[in-house]
Symmetry: C2
Subunit: 200 residues, 2 copies
């Protein structure tokens, strides 16, 4: 992170899909995602074959304060755990009333979203398409292309914070799976909700 | 602007360089920029030939509140007023402690910036390059390519607001000019500052 308050430039559309000036890279390997994928038998088998990188986040670090913007590249690598595409953990913002913008730079994927009022939404990501994640919506990136990474540029308010616990290992209400060569969206059996919307 | 709080998608890299879902387009014609260009004789001569569009801002409207993000496309058309490239008015944010991110999608330009402590900075914009406009820095986009528009995607915090008056018609400390087929950055003769940094 720059120690002063001068503007700075960065590169996000380079062939190598990196932010050279980024000063933090978060690497999530398969071992860090235990419990997140639905098919736990397939997960253990894949992990036994090697602890591959599922996704990376290249952050442009700035103070985590209102008025600042946190941004960077999210790179989700291609792959499947059983029928489930490689994906990020997903999270709410700790400060619920904060939005996020995703802009797809390359690859093809989906942004899976849900709010605490019981709504779910899945938007496809293709190069040049953006998604405005309205305040109060948890979000997860899923790579739907088995031959190339899904690369998105993201921006969110500096004071947003992360809340991974509310979604937790039970996962989002919707799962994005590959079945018979197609992508299908199904209800997550681990998220059985009673009619009032309270998770059981 | 969407009336509910659902996430929505938009397209920014389409061939036509538009946000189809944008619900506000700000069009700045030459007549709206009287006084902003240094060479006022050239300005009046050009205006007499036609009130061309200098730039457009295609906004994705959202509530102007902390936690929200305001974003869209800025399109600065190619052209010169005397030696000075077509450019935006430029502004500070009303809430000074708010940043902005610019991501160049196509064309070639410059982001001219300055703060109230007397510093100036000019960053070149090329496709894929971003600039983090740190809090407290006024900013203006300049199109350095006389054959194509400069297209940038911008994001800033919802509560930022705009302050055009502080920079005003006197303009930024630095002018970006075309001289002898090259681009040069020169001091703005209309911005003579005394040693304490107070504008005279």
């Amino acid at each position: 992170m720059a120690t002063d308050n001068r503007p700075f430039r960065f590169q996000v559309l380079a062939v190598e899909r990196r932010i050279p000036e980024s000063d933090r890279v978060l690497t999530r390997r398969l071992s860090a995602l235990r419990g997140y994928f639905f098919d736990q038998v397939a997960y253990e088998a894949l992990l036994a074959a090697g602890d591959v990188v599922v996704y990376e986040v290249h952050e442009l670090r700035r103070p985590e304060e209102s008025g600042e913007l946190l941004s960077g590249l999210s790179i989700v690598y291609p792959g499947l755990v059983g029928e489930e595409y490689f994906m990020t953990m997903g999270h709410f913002h700790k400060a619920r009333q904060t939005a996020e913008i995703y802009l797809c730079l390359s690859g093809r994927g989906a942004l899976v979203m849900e709010n605490e009022q019981g709504d779910s939404l899945v938007e496809e990501l293709t190069p040049g398409r953006g998604v405005y994640v309205a305040p109060g919506w948890a979000h997860r990136s899923v790579n739907l292309d088995l031959s190339q990474p899904l690369v998105t540029f993201f921006v969110y308010p500096g004071h947003a914070g992360h809340d991974y616990a509310t979604i937790g290992e039970a996962g989002f209400r919707k799962l994005v799976l590959r079945r018979g060569g197609s992508t299908v969206i199904v209800d997550n059996p681990r998220r059985i909700e009673c009619p009032t919307g309270v998770r059981t």
